[in-house]
């Protein structure tokens, strides 16, 4: 039954994938799309204008791949953190990765760096944020898990203040709008180069978590139980933090801050397939991809001027989350 859900989600994602190619300022029918795609491997005569190729491969394909990768990454990071911290209200940002990335990007924009450097700064400062949280919380003797959460909030808030400071100092005509727009999160300017940039860290994060996913169940129990049942919670906890941070930092570095998805999608997935990570992890990744792809398709087709993706994910995410909470309370 539960494998059935996975197959359905894979098919669903494929359908959304195909449909989303056609959506946008320049409409492309599915028939044409299929023809164009196959023309890359089969000798089909080109009967369409060159602009179709550009729209599909240069503009839409990178954006769609980015939505799939980022949707999967943020949701997966959320679902593994929720287990590790034994709290369903935990999101991928909990250890300060997004706040760190936001600061890194703002700083790079402030210093007039180019796009590549902005991404590298965002990525590195995301890692720095989590590293700070991690090493400070090791000094908190009481309880490492609670220590991480508290220090994470503090580190996050420190980076947010620094970001505000940069915004305050930034040139209001040019840099401030760029920073503000970056922080809202968007996939509108993604290129194939960006995809290459994030593919490696996302793979490095996703694959170990996928392999170790059954053990995440044990990690979600009380720590003393998990240890005496034979799980090295320290080692697995570190792997989870490293993997989630790589995926989230990579995502945020090319898309900006996209909120709520790492909180809403794990909840929805748990309602559909239950808490067992064996099925929950792939379900969450697929559902996250589908969700972000749908929302991004709306973003680029709904109104004349494109709304930043991050605004829409939280605008839809928070009421949807309330709906899920009410529903699960009743069930």
């Amino acid at each position: 039954m539960k494998n059935c859900v996975l197959y359905i989600l894979i098919i669903l994602l494929l359908v959304i994938f195909l449909i989303s190619f056609g959506i946008g300022r320049y409409p492309i029918s599915i028939a044409l799309l299929v023809k164009v795609l196959f023309s890359k491997i089969l000798p089909i005569q080109v009967t369409w204008p060159e602009v179709v190729n550009t729209v599909i491969f240069q503009i839409r394909l990178p954006r769609i791949i980015a939505a799939i990768l980022i949707g999967a990454s943020l949701s997966t990071a959320g679902v593994v953190y929720q287990g590790m911290f034994k709290n369903t209200l935990v999101s991928p940002d909990i250890l300060g990765v997004s706040a760190g990335s936001a600061f890194g990007a703002s700083l790079a924009i402030f210093l007039s760096f180019n796009m590549v450097k902005i991404q590298i700064f965002a990525f590195i400062f995301g890692l720095v944020g989590v590293a700070l949280t991690y090493f400070v919380s090791l000094k908190v003797k009481e309880n490492i898990t609670i220590g991480l959460v508290i220090i994470g909030v503090l580190v996050g808030s420190t980076f947010s203040s620094l970001t505000s400071l940069i915004k305050y100092l930034a040139d209001t005509n040019d840099k401030l709008p760029t920073i503000t727009f970056w922080l809202m999160g968007s996939l509108s300017s993604i290129t194939l180069q960006d995809i290459k940039f994030i593919l490696m860290p996302i793979g490095l994060g996703m694959i170990p978590l996928y392999i170790l996913r059954w053990r995440l169940n044990v990690l979600s129990l009380n720590e003393e139980e998990a240890k005496t049942m034979g799980l090295d919670t320290f080692v697995l906890g570190n792997i989870v933090i490293i993997c989630s941070t790589l995926m989230t930092a990579a995502s945020v570095s090319i898309s900006g801050v996209i909120g709520w998805i790492g909180l809403v999608i794990p909840h929805l997935s748990r309602m559909i397939v239950g808490p067992n990570y064996k099925v929950l992890l792939p379900t969450t990744a697929l559902l996250g991809s589908a969700y972000l792809l749908i929302i991004d398709s709306f973003v680029r087709s709904l109104v004349e001027v494109e709304i930043p993706l991050g605004i829409l994910t939280s605008l839809i995410g928070s009421p949807f989350f309330i709906f899920l909470l009410l529903k699960s309370r009743r069930g």
Binding site: G83, K86, N87, T88, K141, I211, L212, R213, W214, R215, N217, V218, S220, L221, N222, E224, E225, A226, K227, T228, M229, G230, L231, D232, R270, G274, P275, N276, K278
Partner: protein, 257 residues
């Protein structure tokens, strides 16, 4: 066999118990008795490896446990804490299967064989009807039985429990203890903290009395755990009464007003 030799234990740099030595053999049920906050849980956590001893050694089957990794430790000694639950809505069978963690490779999940072992434990504890229920929604007594099933599939020969009958109603306490008795009969070893001297009389092969940082070992508590010891242990007036039941002598401990 578990051997504790000259153990000093505690936490946060504070020594709670000093120079503790005792052994627990196959078929032993060791009852830890003492007032609240006297160090029963500290001793238990040190034995299972959750706290690092300040001094002394703990041997299991003549092997020093100090440097054991969790995976190897879990195969020889298992632990039921005072409080346990799950934030998430796992099914009982999933919870029991987690007891197989130490036997599974890094990337694997429970096999058909692991499932059979889990089902056998579930049937042994007569909780087959609970197998597809949500663990976190069960009553305290049912949850305790599920936890025992999980410990059984872990297949460690030594079980350490912190007040296993706490929060259980009278019938569930008895059911629980009878299951533990069966484990003893299969020559496993049980070490448990308890607040009921009666349990030491009825099931204990050994009692450890913990007071003021010291541990007194008493063999065969049904014979040797006297009123004097208990009065001294709890600092209240009490009476130990022998009941003349059919074939065996039973004792109960009652407070005196």
């Amino acid at each position: 066999m578990l051997e504790v030799k000259g153990l000093d234990c505690g936490y946060n740099g504070k020594v709670i118990l000093e120079n503790v030595s005792f052994t627990a053999k196959e078929g032993d049920m060791v009852c830890l008795l003492g007032s609240n906050g006297v160090g029963k849980s500290t001793l238990i956590k040190t034995i299972v490896g959750l706290l690092i001893p300040y001094k002394g050694d703990i041997f299991i089957n003549n092997e020093d446990t100090r440097n054991l990794i969790w995976k190897d430790r879990a195969k020889i000694i298992s632990y039921i804490p005072q409080v346990f639950s799950s934030m998430f809505q796992y099914k009982v069978l999933d919870i029991v299967l987690m007891g197989r963690t130490s036997y599974l490779g890094l990337g694997s999940s429970p096999s058909k064989e692991d499932r059979d072992i889990a089902m056998e434990a579930i049937e042994k504890l007569k909780i087959t009807h609970l197998k597809d229920k949500i663990y976190s929604r069960l009553s305290g007594g049912e949850r305790q039985l599920v936890k025992i099933a999980q410990i059984l599939v872990q297949q460690a020969r030594i079980i350490v429990m912190d007040e296993p009958t706490n929060n259980l109603d009278f019938a569930n306490q008895t059911i629980m203890l009878n299951h533990l008795k069966k484990c003893i009969d299969m020559s496993m070893t049980i070490i448990m903290a308890t607040h009921f001297p009666d349990q030491a009389f009825l099931y204990g092969t050994k009692a450890l009395l913990i007071k003021d940082g010291n541990v007194t070992e008493i063999e065969n508590p049904n014979e040797n755990l006297t009123e004097t010891y208990l009065r001294d242990l709890y600092d209240i007036d009490l009476k130990v009464i022998s009941l003349g039941l059919s074939d065996i002598s039973r004792k109960v401990c009652l407070p005196v007003f």
